[in-house]
């Protein structure tokens, strides 16, 4: 069991995605970078950042950190929402697209491109939900 958004969790998540997902079939050779801004993380309601970057479907980076310097990576998409919503997404209770359409998260970035990567991002979330996680 690893703590959600901890360094251990990030390491396990990255390994799981690299081990289990096919770059073409599952991740559609996507090229995209996303910064998730997770607000109100318990116990002290801090903000955490969860960054992922794919190149040709390969997960090149997966970082989770409270350090806002991660913003300097200039992700193509920034998704901002409450901790409870990200827990729902990362545990597979709600897709990120559904969270977006239900106004549970805000997204900046090219919506047309976002539309093309909803499926591989969902596949990514379905993969990391299998990590035994303490939320």
């Amino acid at each position: 069991m690893v703590k959600y958004l901890s360094e251990e969790w990030a390491a396990q998540a990255k390994k799981k995605v690299l081990d289990e997902l096919d770059q073409t079939k599952d991740l559609k050779n996507m090229n995209a970078s996303l910064l998730n801004v997770v607000q109100n993380v318990p116990p002290d309601q801090k903000t955490m950042y969860f960054y992922i970057r794919f190149v040709d479907g390969k997960l090149e980076e997966l970082l989770a950190s409270p350090d806002e310097s991660i913003k300097q990576k200039n992700a193509e998409f920034t998704i901002t929402g409450d901790y409870t919503t990200f827990v729902q997404i990362s545990s597979g209770q709600m897709s990120s697209a559904m969270a977006l359409l239900k106004n549970r998260v805000k997204m900046t970035g090219n919506k047309i491109k976002a539309f093309t990567i909803t499926k591989p991002i969902d596949t990514f979330n379905m993969c990391i939900k299998k990590i035994e996680t303490e939320y």
């Binding site: 897709s95 106004n103 549970r104 499926k119």
Partner: protein, 646 residues
Amino acid sequence: MNLSDVLETTKKEPHCGMCKIDFLGTGVCPAGKKHGFVAYWPEGRMELARALAENEVEPTETLIDIVNSCNLCGICDRQCYFITQRRPTQAQQALKDYVKTLKPNTFKPIPEDEIVKDLRSIVGNDWATNDPIIIASYLRSIIKQKSSGNFYIVMPRSTEEIVAIVQLANKHKIPYLPRGNGTFFGVALQTLLAELCSIEQGIIIDLWRMKDIHVDPGSFTATIGPGITSFELQKAAHAHKLRANVAEAESCVCANAQNLGIVTTWSNTYGWGTDNFIDAEFIDSTGTIMHLSDKDIPNPYASAQGLLSLSLIPSVIVTQLTLKLHQILDDEEAIFIPFTNLSDALDMAHNLAKRNIGISLAVLSRKYLTEFISPTHEIAEDFNYIAEKYLKLNYIVDVICDKYHKKIIEELAEVTFGHSMIKSLILGSSKLASMKESSLLKMIAEEEDPLKAVFGGPMRKHFEKGLAASPHELVKVFDEDLRDFFEKLYSKPELTDPVWLHSFRILPCRMERKHMWMYRGGYMPGDKETILKVVDALEKPAEKYHIEGAFGFLSYLERGKLAHLEYDYYYDHADPDARKRLNKAIVESWRRQFAIKGVTPLEFICSKGLHRKEHILYPFPEGLSEEDLVHFEELIETLFGGEDAW
């Protein structure tokens, strides 16, 4: 009477919310008016009877109060029978009988939790609850059936109370969702869109108590609270000889403005969306009060075109809206131009739209005409059959205009009819239905142009006379105990006045009499070729999945540059197989519509606020490419799962 005896009726309850408005002059349910929560209204009692029969909720002490608050006065029977032919008192009687069978210790007390205590401190003890019995009455009209989350219902009276509620929800990190009259939810929650427009737990903010209304005839405006329905606003406007451009009688105006932008048969002249709204007060997700007229607000409705703009939940809560009102002319009257083919009807209507002829202008289908004006669904079906088989009457260009435009229309159209014929059809619809195999109709069908023969030729007098139209004749098809009431009702001039009926829109809910419906269609360029393509794109999925589909109405906008089409799928929402087929048809209809240049399906303009239209519809979107359509499939799968999940 057992709950199971009324289950067939309660399962098909459409949640139209008409019982909350006094559209027949009977007054409304006294218990509903006193307590507010949906559970105390006929609509909610029906849902409660269903939920108890299907063991989705257990009795609590509040059930006794709900049941005892009804004295079976019968107002709801008159209202509901007029619209849907249902008798809610039967469900209420079943609830009373059910409660009598329960032992006193069956009724659980429901303890307050911290959240409900806080909610009560905001709105008062009577207006917030966590009682499962009250919550169950909101099932299928904002809460998904079989939801297991913790819910609260709160009924605020002021903007400040809503601010406090939003802040409370944020403090506890639980979602919230406002509810007007629940009419949109009632339709969408039966489909695969349910997940998108409901909440899985949290606070439902029922806005019914916020009924402030102020008409300023000097500036031709009305300022209203979010609990005001279209009927109530129209009534207040008419008192000053003004008219509001509003949707169906039962819909809450603020919610409708925010959700769909209020597009009506009057929209070619009165406009839609941003054309009709002057200012709004709203609350954002942090609980901050803003106004559209504030200089420094961020655009709360900024939205891109495209598939990821499918958002059925408003990002803000509108708590007050100021709308334009329009002057009613002394010489307004209705004129109807009948057509056999849609193509011809579109040509005529577009010609009128481009010239701005007609205050209200639409192409109406045979289905709408017959269903709206017939007192029962059975009569509507017979009328529909007669119109198609004998009269060749499939579409009507439906116009409300002044006397000058009437002259122009009569010059342009080969055949027209007006108030007198519509009155005869309304009051004579039961007689007409009985003439299904009559020699008169067979004779008419043999004419070269039956439409001309009936509505423009010498047979018109015989036809009208044959209908023997009178309130006394009409009400013979009603339940015996309701006949006196309905005879008096149908003797009122407004019930057969097409101008009044177009303004107050009390009839459209009749389309829910037999089955639930799901609107399809959307916005498109006003050219005929595109419109016919869209109609085909909506017809094909209905045929493929064996769903009854029918053209509803088409309004032109902006002098015919744009068109708004409503096409409906009818299905039995109590039948899981029918729901599955409906959902497949919805997805396929999106796919087909998105492939047509310039078309935006209705769902994709939802919840984008008040000041919108140009930034959503212009430039006309390109049709999706093959590659885009693949991504579309993926998005649908991500959102709603695979076909098996539908």
